[in-house]
Assembly symmetry: C2
Homo-oligomer: 761 residues x 2
């Protein structure tokens, strides 16, 4: 049922043979990124077949005019869009005057490889042109991790059966649009198109947001590895610049065009200096040279893998899956820049418009905490701190007062940019995940500094929101939270979603605790925070009172917490008892039918049990897992990982493994039939959690790492590394034994299956 | 606070003095219509000021490409739009070469009058042109009720201070667009622009729906009443035709252009014969002549008023209000054509796109039953019968089977054309009103024929829908209806909306009863219906079982039915205790805040008590009125009338009068600050109900009219007429006595305040 054209390989994603129907899917799967920019794996040469062109620059977005059926008060004016940026990868190729286009000639030995170990993308094929000339093509592309404004393409052509004139026309094109633009509006203004010998530049500016971007390129030619110094003919239009090189090539000779290109952006440079900055990047890159740049790239990836790799013995599909996830996460976000965040599609597509969802806090932060230095996770937290005033404004728009903060469901710059009322206004549990991430960060890193520097202000804004959002029910004699959408988006506008109420309760108690701690331990900071937030002492009392009387729907007959007040009134037919023809319900059923069904799109109560594991017994978890899992359809990419972790905890390794496969190869095997639109980047962190927290059973309690390792019967062993407070620990789990090795840093005391173990190097 | 520029007058709507800021509002209030076509009261001459141009043709619509934020399965592909049609009212006027434009010259003695008694719209003013010429203008417009393809404009100009060359350029313009078009798409194709001496024709066709329309005109000139025979110069463009007449006019002389114009439409003619049909209309109209046409119009309106008028003594504002309502209803719908229905804005604006809502069944049918012959109401019922197969298709799209029918929330041709999930999929109570109207029709008219001919098939489809839509709750041990929106659209996706559940229960029981009656009394019809619907006997048992066990939420502590399961969990602050700055909440509050508030947009439980009055005691009504009215904000035009009727029944005449004023002068006084967009046509029938059923206390029980007359203290008397089963009865209510006079038809036994009275002529 699922696609299976990707060859199993431990370190590479490989496609063999040219199938035009798979071009869009491969463009997603073979995407490149370096945290600062990225593109879909579009062909460099012209292609008239079906393709989805996409180049993206981190942090550069457009507030597209919103599109709604019926306007609701409080909707934001715009829906932010990840912007399709000017294309710098393009190289038109002509062979004796005939344009090379894979949709128009005969293709053999077509192969793509995304080499994840060394961080390059290579494509090779043999083409028989209409004019009879047979050529071999090999194209390699790198987005340099360190010089992250620079990409390099090495495009090689070898005429096989006769001499040929090869024309390369590397170009930069700024006449690009978004597939998902709401009103077919123009997003970019073109300021200047400029050439300089082998170089070309286009300066553009986004409309409204006024991001200045210089897209640049320089090309060099080689024959059989020998640099040849010819000047191109330049063609300019209002929106593009082309450098035309004509090279006579003898049969069997290989001509190579090396294109150095990329973006300089006003986020990082004075807008007036973008061309100068681009020239600087080009001169640096060319001075280093292609071979060394490629080595540097491999070395930079080696450094990432050295820390982040997970090896799996005995299951190449699982191995390929987890590496693909880790690779894509690192292509998307490297944690260098607190202005950036992790978009659900990374640099692989446009969908979901905005960049930041609660995915970051709920799923991505654990991965970055364990595989990078703590500054990376801290930057992700700081991102929200920097947007606190916007979150307060957002809450004000909805009628909240006194510094209450509601973080947006989707955002680029702190402003809400989503507009379905049931999500925008009601899926308020996101506020809880943002608070939880602050707690989780301190729990993992031991860094108490973030709380006093920034975290507490965020917590106060969030606690105030919950305190105003909950209301007292005279019939229940409890505080209730009405009209919400929980993590399970297949229920909308429900009352007392257990997860949301529990989160609210926890947020208020945790904030109270942190205020009290800060007042005691960091009195100076406390004074500053008190002033900044106009905090008053009675607020703590209010929060505690409300938390103590928060309503948590419970069924005595079923002995479980209820997902929401009305859950048990539904027709409780399990997924197993549903005719398979009805699945996936998001494609087969009308929305109202989904809403009144018991089917759960993604972990909801079980997500809460995941966050607050210590608050519940394993027996309670088991009861809730057994009650809710049978109704869960996992039609969100964020669902299977949580179920995998919970199943592993319950020692149900077959289920855990089944959920693991579903999360780890979601895109490679295209479970949801939508990989063409891009990859599911944020849920990839959930895959990492499935292994580390699920199978490995890793937890942090009282400042120590705990493990309860388990292994799926399909695997011989697996190994992962974590950076815990500066100590690097390698964990290997075999069928019959586990090993814990300190690679560097201070000795650690860890707890394995309840037993304390000291780990020295 | 409300606008008060309309002069009080018993029979006319009058504006005096020119205020450009009121142009859009007046364009709505002075709208003309004759059931077949209509327009907003746009100026004939050019006007560069702010204006909302609108001409509409009954039954001619366009399936505009829909616009949604996020697509939901089951949404219809289009949102039907009342189409802005080619403009035939335009007459450019030049005075010695200077264009007459009210935004560019000095205006005195400006006056508009909508003469409701005789059915014409007149506008007069004096203009001082920049060139110094002073002119008097008087323009009269009629949309002929009988020749309903014909409109006539008599446009008179008198130069006051010198001789002048007057140029009249009557034109037809097909280059029109909808203000509310979703994607700025073009809606019309222009087929042919054609002239013939004093005549001009434009043939157009709507895209997609392919309605053919010929917009036509012919002009005649008079000086001081003397016909002058001059041929115009004709100018044509791709989308317009102009006839240019130049007339030298002496100071003090009056030149008059009479423009005969209108539409012929493929709904009523062979599309190929539209120009011929137009010529036929023109020749008829011109043969009859303006004076006689105007007399005919007055006579036709007299006939309508003779039956439909309500007189109120002692309160000219109330008198003007009710006549405006009755006039607009008759301008909108005359009941001649079962393909037509009553759009919420009639011919006064574009808003609410589609034509038919449950407004027709719940509010309009009683008015048309009592003031027209029964065929008119029957046509409104037949409209739904004719669309039964589409309602069944609509239900199928949402997963229902076996002939279950869900009528659309908004429709032009039986297909759903609304797309907000909470309305489209969930506001299913509309099905109940459609069934109720069938019951109500038979109750009022005594015509049992409709049921066997058409009604029962509709009822079966509706009963099947409810039977599939309700589900069994294991916790409540009752049938529940989850995920609905009741008449109070300020709650969405609620469970067990009392009104909806009660409607569902009643529909199933009533359908069962009607099937049993039909089987006994009309066995042949029953056989046919059984075959047509594949009806099976066990269905009746299912319905009865489900109706008997239908859950109706009730609060023991409050001793009232609950609007929905969660109502009492809300913060029950009454409207009186809400800071006035928060009103209207639909403008001041975000949607989520509205949804979790207790505020009721329009009568919900009280609407159910209105439909099923006999099922509840007056004491029960009082309890529910006292409980729900304090939470009702009446932010729907359909709300105050129901509250007025209920308040009158409870003998709270001050409240009843207050609600009456709110409904009757909603548009004239612009309570909701939106009259610019058009008038609230369907709620105007509610105003009529407020007097007849509210103050007059008219009901039909056991085949007899009942009355319990009351009178607001502000009035001296009021009088209305009803056509009850062919007998015309005039009811006059004075402060101290009531009179009931049989105008024609068979003697009647009526029940007044519980006492039986025989009425003979």
């Amino acid at each position: 049922m699922n696609q299976e054209y990707i060859k199993p390989h431990p370190w590479s994603i490989i496609e063999e043979g040219f199938n035009p129907a798979l071009v869009r899917a491969s463009e997603s799967l073979f995407s490149m990124g370096n945290g600062a920019m990225g593109q879909r794996a579009n062909f460099e040469e012209e292609y008239q077949g079906d393709t989805f062109q996409g180049s993206y620059i981190a942090g550069v977005y457009y507030p597209d005019k919103t599109r709604v059926g019926w306007w609701k008060n409080g909707y934001p004016e715009y829906f932010a869009k990840v912007l399709n940026a000017p294309n710098w990868i393009g190289i038109k190729v002509r062979i004796d005057g005939e344009s090379l286009d894979l949709s128009k000639c005969q293709i053999e030995n077509f192969k793509r490889e995304l080499n994840m170990r060394e961080g390059f993308y290579k494509r090779s094929f043999q083409a028989t042109m209409k004019n009879g000339i047979i050529i071999e093509v090999e194209s390699t592309r790198i987005l340099h991790l360190e010089l992250d404004e620079l990409g390099i393409i090495d495009y090689q052509v070898t005429p096989i059966n006769k001499n040929a004139d090869i024309t390369f026309t590397p170009y930069v094109d700024a006449a690009i649009t978004n597939e998902d633009s709401n009103w077919d509006d123009k997003f970019w203004d073109i300021i200047e198109v400029k050439e300089d010998k082998n170089q070309g530049f286009i300066r553009t500016q986004t409309l409204k947001t006024h991001f200045d971007v210089c897209t640049f390129m320089e090309s060099q030619l080689y024959i059989d590895g020998q640099h040849i110094d010819i000047l191109p003919k330049t063609t300019k239009s209002l929106s593009s610049i082309e450098l035309v090189y004509v090279v006579p090539v003898a049969q069997g000779q290989t001509v190579s065009l090396r294109k150095y290109a990329g973006y300089t952006v006003s986020l990082n440079h004075d807008p007036k200096e973008l061309v100068a900055a681009a020239k600087n990047v080009l001169s640096k890159g060319i001075k280093i040279g292609y071979a060394t740049l490629k080595e540097q790239q491999a070395a930079a990836w080696k450094e990432i893998w050295d820390m982040a790799d997970i090896t799996i013995e005995g299951d190449v599909a699982a191995q390929q899956g987890i590496r693909f996830n880790i690779f894509q996460l690192n292509q998307t976000y490297l944690g260098k820049d607190a202005r950036l965040n992790i978009g659900p599609k990374g640099f692989t597509g446009e969908k979901y418009g905005g960049s930041t969802y609660w995915d970051t806090e709920a799923y991505c932060i654990p991965f970055y905490m364990a595989t990078k230095n703590p500054q990376v996770a801290r930057n992700l937290l700081k991102y929200r701190y920097d947007q606190l005033s916007k979150a307060i404004e957002n809450a004000q728009k909805l009628g909240f007062v006194n510094g209450a903060a509601l973080y947006p469901m989707v955002t680029m710059n702190g402003e809400e940019c989503h507009n379905e009322w049931e999500i925008t206004f009601e899926e308020i549990h996101r506020n809880g995940a943002i608070a939880f991430a602050i707690y989780n960060y301190e729990r993992y890193t031991g860094d108490t500094g973030y709380m006093v520097e920034m975290g507490l202000e965020v917590l106060i804004g969030i606690a105030r929101f919950w305190c105003q959002r909950a209301t007292f029910s005279n019939t229940k004699k409890k505080y209730v939270i009405l009209g919400v959408t929980g993590p399970n988006e297949y229920e909308n506008n429900v009352n007392n979603n257990w997860y949301t109420n529990y989160m609210a309760k926890w947020c208020m108690l945790y904030t109270a605790e942190m205020i009290e701690r800060t007042a005691t331990i960091f009195p100076d900071n406390y004074k500053r925070i008190r002033q900044a937030t106009n905090f008053e002492d009675n607020e703590i009392a209010d929060w505690k009172k409300m938390a103590a009387a928060m309503f948590l729907p419970y069924s005595d007959s079923e002995d479980v917490y209820l997902q929401q007040d009305g859950f048990l009134d539904k027709e409780l037919v399990t997924v197993a008892n549903l005719n398979k023809e009805h699945l996936p319900i998001n494609q087969k059923w009308s929305w109202d039918r989904i809403l009144r069904s018991p089917y759960i799109k993604q972990a909801d109560i079980l997500q809460g049990f995941y966050f607050f594991e210590e608050h519940f017994t394993t027996e309670e978890l088991e009861r809730h897992f057994d009650f809710y899992e049978p109704f869960t359809v996992h039609e969100s990419s964020l669902s299977p990982c949580v179920h995998s972790i919970q199943a592993a905890k319950l020692n149900r390794m077959d289920r855990a493994y089944e959920f693991y496969l579903r999360t780890s190869r979601l895109d490679l095997d295209d479970y949801n039939k939508e990989v063409e639109e891009g990859c599911h980047i944020t849920s990839m962190a959930g895959t990492w959690m499935s292994i580390v927290e699920g199978f490995g059973g890793m937890r942090v309690r009282d400042g120590h790492l705990h493990f309860e390792p388990r292994i799926p019967k399909e695997w011989n062993s697996y190994t992962f590394k974590v950076n815990f407070r500066g100590s690097i620990l390698t964990i290997s789990v075999n069928k019959d034994k586990n090993s814990f090795v300190l690679e560097s840093g201070n000795p650690l005391t860890i707890i394995v299956n309840g037993q304390s173990i000291s780990i020295n190097s």
